[in-house]
Amino acid sequence: MKNPPALYLEADNVSPDAFAGKTAAQIAELSVHEGNTTPTLGKYFEVKGDAGATAADTKIVVKGDVKRVKYLGFKMSAGELVIEGTTDLYVGAWMTGGKILAKGDVAAFAATAMKGGELVIEGNAGNYLGAAYRGDWRGMSGGKILVKGDAGSDIGMYMTGGEIVVNGNVDVHAMTHAEGGKLIVKGNAKSKLGGQMVKGTIYVFGNIEVMMPGFKPNGEVELEVEGTKAKFAHFLGDIGERHGKSKGVVVYGNLYKKI
């Protein structure tokens, strides 16, 4: 990273798909955006090494201060992306495959509408992790996200499939409107958890600040989650929300809280 931008950079070309089959020189010619200007990657990054022939055999390592860089790994379908520092919005947004390793924090909208692949965040994740784009009812539908730190609000909104694991705590409104998928919170959850949830499963190892009234106690169960065997209190919800039936039986969302 060189010539730090005055504003923010939109580096939506930094993905194995965009790099594939290009030499270092060609990669340096790819466009980035600073406000309404469109300079090249080469202006801000020193590009070393050529890409593989395809996205699948391309690995990108982003070094330096990328706190003000958005869209790293945007729409990537294969290959590997390693971000060594903390970075900004839309990491791995609309990704369908491949692997992203973010060693620092990532800001909001990471893995928006993710369809597949793997996103590992060693720091903290921002808001709307694995959520749907505004207005869309199709959120994260596949793939796996691991957050080693904490995650923000509205994670997994409109989630329909895939899995999010947060080792730390999550902020308000996790899994709102979810219609499938799995969320595992090793730490604590704030309030509004699973609000308007239609289907899907949430596991919380720590406390829940305030429980949604639409979650009805449904006894206790012995479960093994992520290698941890423990007793969980089971809740069905969100009772207030509409629910479909399968073989004549109403299907609810499931919330398990470790006792």
């Binding site: 939109e10 309404n36 409107h177 509004k192 609000g195 009234p213 969100d238």
Partner: protein, 438 residues
């Protein structure tokens, strides 16, 4: 001799009252009396005449003083600022007419700016909720003619929309509501016993920040399912009673305001309120409506939408329109340090943004187009006073229920003053020259 102008539209709040009568001097230059308006509307019309009014553009000097400049110099500064900026923010638009907004959009398109209106700090989260689950609504006349259940949730029309209750929602006698207030049950949900709550048949004094839980509980109660003993500080029994009152109406309307859009959960509060409205339509007829603040914030959203496709927080920096509040919204753009020029019109972010979002305005080239002196003009490099829209010039506006009403001009602006639209056209034409556009 004086003249009386009738059917005058009040350019203050989203209620957009259109039955004002204004008495003006024979030469149409002085505004003498205002009838039918609320105290705020009356003040708006009368203050437009104040003697100490600034009538020419002014540049802020280092020592804090102001230097008067010509409109042409103001046009030049504004056009140059927008031409040079990499990511200018053009904010406001809610207190001007749709014609000016339309010219503003052309300017934004040429300078590839971010454009946003006051929904940013008002009903922006409502728009997000509407995008998530829709909006069963109606026009205000439907409320007047049919509503027998009226719910004010997190809003206080007695203070913010003073004539709303008498024109549309509580007192008027409509086609199917011949007994006026007697035909209606009023429910107010508010953490305070507001002057609106004092009139309610039922006041649910919700614990501040727990509206989302209470709305969910009401949805559960409609289904007659299990509830905890108390939700949001309100006993389950009272929640079930309220649910029955809602269900028993023939035509219900939920009005909501800043109490829910600005409290934690934000868009989700509205989302849940809309879901509740949708549920109630399984039993009877219900609608829901945001109590829009500025008299033409709704119009700004409409014009943005048919021209760019999005109602607010539109980012044109890449040459095409993008939208995602949290990224392209004014507060985030300012606090995150994403913009390098500030253009404000028809609103006062200086007074109504959190201070951390105001400080950045003072650090970039900035223009404030506003008939008033405001905190925004106070921290902007250039202040361009203009004619009062809806008083000194007409133009189309949209009421809180999206009904368009063409504002009326009642008096002449002071000699030589431009309207928003006239000033913007000059800026657009100069900008086209600078950008070499056709």
């Amino acid at each position: 001799m004086t003249k009386t102008v009738t059917d005058v539209i009040c350019p203050f709040c989203g209620t957009l009252c259109d039955d004002l009568e204004v008495v003006v001097s024979d030469d149409g230059k002085k505004l003498l009396e205002v009838y039918n308006a609320c105290v705020i509307g009356t003040e708006k019309f009368l203050h437009s005449q104040s003697a100490d009014r600034v009538t020419r553009p002014r540049m802020h000097q280092e020592d804090g003083s102001w230097k008067e400049v010509s409109y042409d110099e103001a046009v030049e500064y504004t056009a140059q600022m927008l031409a040079k900026a990499k990511k200018p923010l053009m904010y406001g638009w809610s207190s001007t007419n749709c014609e000016a907004q339309s010219v503003g959009n052309e300017i934004a398109e040429i300078s590839r700016a971010c454009c946003d209106n006051t929904a940013a700090v008002c009903h922006g989260t409502t728009l997000i909720a509407v995008q998530d689950i829709g909006l069963p609504t109606c026009t205000l006349g439907e409320v007047k003619n049919r509503a027998d259940r009226v719910i004010f949730w997190g809003c206080n029309p007695a203070h913010a929309h003073p004539r709303h209750m008498s024109r549309y929602s509580i007192f008027p006698r409509g086609f199917f509501t011949g007994k006026g207030q007697m035909s209606r049950k009023l429910i107010v949900v508010d953490p305070r016993t507001t002057d609106t709550a004092k009139m309610a048949d039922v006041h649910l004094q919700v614990e501040q920040g727990r509206d989302y839980e209470l709305l969910d509980a009401l949805r559960v109660a409609l289904k007659g399912e299990w509830l905890p003993d108390e939700v949001a500080g309100i006993p389950a029994e009272k929640i079930r009673e309220a649910a029955d009152v809602l269900k028993s109406g023939r035509f219900g309307i939920i009005f909501f305001g800043m109490g829910v859009t600005q409290s934690i959960s934000k868009n989700h509060n509205i989302d849940a309120a809309i879901a509740l409205t949708k549920d109630l339509n399984e039993y009877t007829k219900y609608s829901i409506m945001p109590m829009r603040g500025h008299y033409n914030v709704t119009g700004s959203g409409e014009v943005f939408a048919w021209q760019f496709g999005f109602p607010y927080a539109v980012d044109l920096s890449r040459g095409f329109a993008r939208y995602n509040p949290g990224d392209t919204s004014s507060i985030d753009l300012l606090t995150r340090g994403e913009i390098d020029a500030m253009f404000t019109i028809g609103s006062d972010p200086g007074a109504h943004f959190p201070i951390s979002a105001v400080k950045p305005i003072a650090n970039v080239p900035s223009v404030c187009i506003d008939p008033h002196l405001t905190p925004t003009s106070g921290v902007s490099k250039l202040h361009v006073p203009v004619a009062f829209n809806g008083v000194e010039c007409g133009g189309n506006c949209y009421r809180m229920d999206n009904v368009p009403i063409d504002c009326r001009k009642v008096v002449e602006p002071p000699e030589g003053m431009l309207t928003d639209e006239q000033f913007l056209i000059k800026v657009r034409d100069r900008l086209k020259q600078l950008k070499g556009a056709a």
